[in-house]
């Protein structure tokens, strides 16, 4: 018990200091207070540039609704049309999010899926791992269309790409 009491102030001080350090060394695109800042299409940070590669932003710039670094993966559904129950997003790690509008073609390495067209996909990168969620539906090469489970309209908007 006494150990807990003595460690209390130290813990608080440590958390305050670590918060300052994280903020000082954090991504320049994340403003204080978790306000999301737009990513520059022309001069992205190295992290943002890698996310643009993984999410194929360049060929689909006109279809990008918004892109940003969300501080916690579990909050991505506040900014993109997801339910919040996606198991891939149940973490407190930062998540890059790119939301697209309309159809985008993808090639999978799967006999069953093959080449697909995804409608309104949301690309999320957490710890370098990319996950592409389809929010409206997926059309397969044989013409089959599988509708995605409905998701609510997000309560907050992702910032659009800056020049």
């Amino acid at each position: 018990m006494s150990t807990t009491r003595r460690s209390g102030p130290v813990l608080v001080l440590t958390l305050l200091l670590s918060g300052c350090l994280v903020r000082a060394g954090g991504s320049p695109e994340t403003a204080p207070g978790s306000t999301l800042t737009a990513v520059s299409l022309g001069s992205p940070s190295p992290d943002a540039a890698r996310v643009m590669e993984l999410c194929a932003v360049a060929p689909h710039t006109e279809q990008v609704i918004g892109m940003a670094l969300v501080p916690y993966a579990r909050d991505v559904a506040k900014y993109a049309r997801l339910t919040g129950g996606e198991i891939e997003l149940q973490s407190d790690h930062p998540a890059w999010v790119v939301a697209f509008r309309g159809p985008i073609a993808y090639t999978t390495l799967s006999f069953s899926a093959g080449a697909v067209t995804a409608y309104d996909p949301v690309c999320v990168v957490v710890d370098g791992v990319r996950t592409v969620f389809v929010t409206s539906g997926t059309q397969f090469q044989d013409g089959t269309f599988v509708t995605a489970p409905p998701a609510p309209t997000p309560e907050l908007a992702l910032p659009t790409l800056a020049p």
């Binding site: 198991i87 891939e88 993808y106 090639t107 390495l109 799967s110 080449a115 997926t138 489970p149």
Partner: protein
């Protein structure tokens, strides 16, 4: 056919198999180098020598075969064996890779790739967890992956349901192991205890025993509604892409295994029987070995 296919009792085939696993030996010896401080020079010399020999012994083409891309004939096709069993929780095989040629004169819209993997699959078209290697160009590359050079990959996909809202596309992403060289490695996806939480299980994807990624049991069993089968496959897309092997040198899938609730089980197929999936039987060939129930070989009839 290869000598080690014809002579099951001959130990020469074992020696041949060892020649096809160069990178493993080199890596293991390199790691030992740091722990065997008493004789560092000896280990360094040995590692260097093995790496040199392995490089020289790696599978290679007698000559290159290539065909022009044919964008009007692009469809997911290849060959595969599927092990569908109630309660399957793992798939494993040694897959040979020759660093195949892709079609030539590709343009940005060409979907061109050559790939092979082991995977677990669920019931929906998106349900798959793969580990393997891929070589792609132009539109055949999943975003962010190396183009024109082969690399190891992971991919996970699922359809949406009440437990797992949202569809996830099974897009290949380069695995931590990075770029892939020619040779034979063991690829595995299997449910095992999580070392970080021993009371829990996860599905681990590994290459030669080194974990490349994992998925939770919820991601596989909950989101898919259960595993349907293990899959062992190679795939090409453009008509001009070469499938895994040539007429002279077939691509080997050896020691094909699936895991039930307790044990690894060997694939048990009739000698020389055709593979479960051969999407383009005119050009693609795939048969079980003539002397091993758990080996199969594929090749492209157009590639001498």
């Amino acid at each position: 056919m290869r000598p080690w296919q014809r002579r099951p009792g001959d130990r020469r085939w074992l020696l041949t198999r060892e020649r096809h696993q160069p990178s493993v030996k080199a890596v293991v010896l390199s790691r030992r180098r740091w722990t065997a401080a008493a004789q560092p020079n000896r280990w360094i010399s040995t590692a260097f020598a093995v790496a040199l020999v392995a490089t020289l012994a790696a599978p290679s083409r007698t000559f290159a075969w290539s065909a022009a891309c044919n964008t009007s004939s692009e469809v997911s096709h290849g060959v595969a064996q599927n092990e569908a069993h109630t309660g399957v929780i793992g798939a494993q095989a040694i897959i040979e890779w020759f660093n195949d040629a892709l079609c030539t004169n590709a343009n940005p819209s060409t979907v061109s790739l050559s790939s092979a993997w082991v995977a677990l699959e669920g019931s929906s078209a998106l349900d798959i967890y793969q580990v393997g290697f891929d070589k792609c160009q132009q539109a055949g590359c999943s975003q962010g992956n190396p183009a024109g050079t082969s690399f190891y990959f992971l991919a996970y996909g699922r359809n949406g349901n009440a437990t797992c809202p949202g569809q996830v596309l099974p897009l290949a992403q380069e695995a931590p192991k990075g770029l892939a060289g020619a040779g034979s490695l063991t690829y595995s996806v299997v449910k095992e205890p999580d070392p970080d939480h021993p009371s829990q299980y996860k599905y681990f994807a590994s290459i030669d025993g080194v974990v490349q990624g994992s998925q939770t049991t919820t991601a596989i069993e909950g989101c898919w509604g259960g595993v349907v089968q293990g899959q062992y496959a190679d795939e090409v897309y453009d008509y001009g892409d070469q499938t895994g092997g040539t007429v002279r040198n077939h691509q080997g899938f050896t020691y094909v295994r699936w895991h039930d609730a307790t044990y690894w089980r060997a694939m048990n197929r009739v000698y020389s029987s055709p593979c479960d999936v051969i999407n383009d039987p005119t050009n693609e060939h795939c048969n079980v070995a003539s002397n091993h129930h758990d080996w199969f070989f594929s090749w492209d009839a157009r590639a001498p």
